[in-house]
């Protein structure tokens, strides 16, 4: 994947999405997405269930490729390069764009191996012990697990598992961190820890977070995209982007009535 600065859409834009439609087979699942995701900022995707926020997130690392029949129309660029161009290697892309999932999904391996796995498959030649420690420190987990690195990644608490998954994602030194409702399975204290962590991580990474929790979006994000869903005739749901603006604007002075209704808790 080559970065060609001349085609880049404005300096400091990580993802440029224009006129993007997302299909499952012939079903249009998410329509008409236009947004520019700024570098080293936290961008939040909010909206009711079925609005397509996770789907758009999963386009950014092409995890949707794994779903048979799914495809994208329109433009999704990563630093000026078309993500869905045939020359782009999805595995190389995913090394650069890390992801944290809704439910903590540590591998059934030791804590150490959970971190080392990604590094190994990506041909990391440095000091593995050092990388494991550094990643765990960055994820604010080192102090809690340093004496049990050989124990299973499944043996720690849910909040710790999620930070392990964050450590695993940042261990391969990605440029972007995608977070798909990373706190929805966590208790409030663990949630706060992860949010604090995000503030630290944005020094280094562009973060895109999907969240159901509007308070979380207003607490952590710089930009917010509000998606909504409309019912289709066949009973499915079709998502679309309603509004994308700085978080302050979305929560205090949105341009759309639907956004106003959603952030003030009138539906969703």
């Amino acid at each position: 994947m080559q970065t060609n600065p001349s085609t880049a859409v404005g300096a400091g834009t990580t993802f440029h999405v224009a006129q993007a439609n997302y299909y499952y087979g012939s079903f249009l699942a998410v329509s008409n997405v236009n947004l520019d995701i700024p570098e080293r900022k936290i961008t939040a995707f909010i909206g009711p269930s079925g609005c397509g926020k996770s789907t758009v997130l999963r386009c950014f690392n092409r995890l949707n490729d794994l779903i048979p029949g799914a495809h994208v129309e329109g433009t999704i660029q990563y630093r000026g390069v078309d993500l869905y161009d045939k020359s782009v290697d999805a595995t190389e892309l995913r090394r650069r764009i890390g992801m944290v999932f809704q439910k903590p999904n540590p591998f059934p391996k030791s804590i150490y191996e959970n971190i080392a796995f990604g590094a190994r498959i990506n041909g990391y030649k440095g000091d593995m012990d050092e990388l494991v420690e550094r990643s765990l420190r960055k994820a604010a987990l080192w102090e809690e697990v340093k004496d049990k690195l050989k124990e299973s990644g499944l043996s720690i608490s849910g909040g710790q598992q999620q930070r392990l998954c964050i450590a695993r994602a940042i261990a391969i030194e990605p440029e972007v961190l995608l977070m798909d409702e990373p706190c929805s399975a966590l208790d409030p204290i663990s949630t706060l820890r992860v949010e604090d962590l995000m503030h630290e991580l944005k020094e280094q990474f562009t973060i895109v977070i999907v969240t159901h929790n509007m308070q979380q979006a207003s607490r952590v994000s710089d930009m917010t995209a509000f998606y909504n869903a409309q019912a289709t005739e066949k009973g499915g749901k079709q998502g679309y982007l309603v509004e994308y603006a700085p978080t302050q604007t979305i929560f205090n002075n949105p341009a759309q009535q639907a956004t106003q209704d959603y952030v003030s808790g009138r539906f969703g």
């Binding site: 690392n61 995890l63 794994l66 048979p68 595995t91 190389e92 892309l93 995913r94 090394r95 890390g98 992801m99 999932f101 439910k103 999904n105 540590p106 591998f107 059934p108 391996k109 796995f117 990604g118 498959i121 990506n122 499944l154 998954c165 695993r168 994602a169 391969i172």
Partner: protein, 313 residues
């Protein structure tokens, strides 16, 4: 309810008059009927075990257990009889070992292919097809080994006899393949999708995901399938009786005729050993040995799965 009564409902209009007594009797009846059917299988097992223990006890009245364990000849049907069970165990071990060498790699590769690589439409057809293999009568497998596999092997294995452990073991492996492939496939399929996605999201390829994440996560189920496969191979009768020969000899040479525990039992059972004779009760001692081996295997499998199963929410 005879001892205590709920107070009368103030809203009781007389429209609600459930027959609690009838419901209770039906509950009890259901319990008894289901319990009785459940007991049949337990009672059968207990009956078999008791028979085995009783006849084996009689056997050891005649033959010292020391001879049973240390003799290196198995000649119970001769006048100068010797009872070295090791002879039969070695044959069972040899055929089962060959079977496992055949079935383990094939089973696991078939399982990975089915669950990870085959499109779901193909999987829907392939899996039942594999399970049909399990429905082939073992007597067919036995003659397949004797008249098809053995002659082919003879062309390039020097010194191979028409009856031999090798062809019996290979075909035995094919016979237990569905067990291993199907159970392994279940275990692999049960690995949560979220683990695979986590691996892909780190830039892993499909092969890296399968070998580093999916297979380790399914390990306990895969090992359990191996052990059940071994247990089947050890207890399998027709294939080895037909294709491995009837010559009890202490050897690990796969080219010569041997006699497994199961084929010895067949040999005596189809002969004319009178009930109660020493020849006759010998088969119970052999049966007991066989039972203990499979019991240990199953117990180990049970323990292993419980010990190493990853618990996902």
């Amino acid at each position: 309810m005879t001892t205590s009564q709920l107070p009368d409902s103030p809203q009781n209009s007389g429209l609600w008059q459930p027959n609690r007594q009838l419901s209770k009797s039906m509950e009890l009846l259901a319990k008894i009927v289901f319990g009785a059917f459940g007991l049949v299988s337990i009672a059968t097992t207990i009956g078999i075990v008791l028979t085995l223990i009783f006849e084996t006890f009689l056997f050891f009245q005649e033959v010292p257990i020391w001879n049973f364990l240390t003799d290196t000849q198995w000649t119970p049907l001769f006048t100068n009889s010797q009872y070295g069970i090791i002879v039969l165990i070695s044959a069972t071990f040899l055929t089962s070992f060959i079977a496992l060498i055949v079935a383990m790699p094939m089973g696991i590769l078939a399982a990975v292919c089915l669950s990870e690589y085959a499109p779901s439409g193909l999987r829907k057809w392939l899996k039942p097809a594999l399970e049909i293999l399990a429905g082939v009568p073992t007597v067919v497998f036995g003659y397949f080994a004797l008249f098809f596999v053995s002659p082919i092997l003879e062309t390039f294995v020097p010194g191979l006899r028409p009856f031999n452990g090798l062809s019996a073991g290979i075909v035995l492996g094919i016979a237990i393949l569905p067990t291993i492939a199907s159970l392994s496939e279940d275990a692999i399929y049960a690995v949560p999708q979220s683990l695979r996605q986590g691996s892909y999201a780190l830039g892993a390829t499909k092969r890296e995901t399968v070998t580093n994440v999916v297979l380790p996560a399914a390990l306990s189920g895969i090992v359990a399938s191996f052990i059940l496969g071994i247990a089947r191979a050890v207890g399998e009768t027709m294939i080895v009786t037909i294709a491995a020969g009837q010559n009890p000899r202490l050897t690990l040479d796969p080219r010569v005729p041997i006699q497994t525990m199961t084929s010895f039992i067949v040999q005596v059972a189809k002969g004319d050993a009178p009930t109660g004779s020493i020849e006759f009760i010998t088969i119970f001692a052999v049966g007991m040995t066989l039972f203990l081996i499979t019991l240990v295997l199953n117990a180990f499998s049970f323990w292993f799965v419980g010990r190493f199963r990853e618990k996902y929410e």
